[in-house]
Symmetry: C2
Subunit: 138 residues, 2 copies
């Protein structure tokens, strides 16, 4: 008799959390280049070297269309809710973002209890979107 | 020799477009129940009977976290960008939303050319999020 199927996916890539960082975001009154969003991306990549697990993918994106609330990121993962956050400081928020993303990755559905969320995520939430139903789902 | 794999997925469910409608949205000064978002969901389902194709799924959601810009919807599809829109009228926007979603479904990536987008989608965009990379993608 074959072994029963495991309850969790054997493919770790299914559980990957993607952190999208808008590299187009700029902060009023600041020099144009490098833009605040690009600086936040660099800060996140630097900080991730110390703090991020192997299941995190950090990706720069040209515009998340949240131009009035720089800097902006989105957190997404297959089967979990997607969250978009704005009003993030390009210099000081990298570790906080990675902590929040770490909590997200520990949930089955992407919903971190309100009290456990970093203050920046509570105040900066721009939108959230449910996970897409799988083709076999009702 | 086996037939070559088709270039497009043979599973039409992969191409389904999901329209999420926030049913929690309410408009200032209006009666609490039914909420504006719930009324928009009803209007969309009514209008979809006439205008929507078989590849559209309309789903009510409890809160898309865009509470300051009611009414709010999100458009998502596997392999396409996700868009979130706000400032939508619960009574008058249903057909416009369905037209915009129809254009979205005709694109390979979800990006409708700016000039082709309904005015409500141009002004009401809240955020956009890239499609998740497939596990096999680089």
């Amino acid at each position: 008799m074959p072994d029963p199927l495991p309850e969790t996916s054997p493919d770790p890539s299914d559980d990957t959390v993607t952190l999208y960082v808008c590299t187009t975001c700029r902060v009023a009154g600041e020099a144009d280049e490098p833009r605040a969003g690009a600086r936040l991306l660099d800060a996140l990549r630097d900080a991730a070297g110390d703090h991020a697990g192997p299941g995190l993918r950090i990706e720069g994106v040209e515009c998340l269309s949240v131009c009035k609330r720089p800097c902006t990121v989105a957190v997404a993962s297959r089967g979990r809710w997607t969250y978009v956050y704005g009003d993030l400081d390009p210099a000081d928020s990298a570790r906080t973002i990675l902590e929040g993303v770490g909590l997200y990755g520990q949930t089955p559905d992407g919903i971190v209890p309100w009290k456990a969320r970093p203050q920046e995520f509570r105040k900066g939430v721009v939108a959230r979107i449910p996970p897409l139903a799988t083709p076999d789902a009702p």
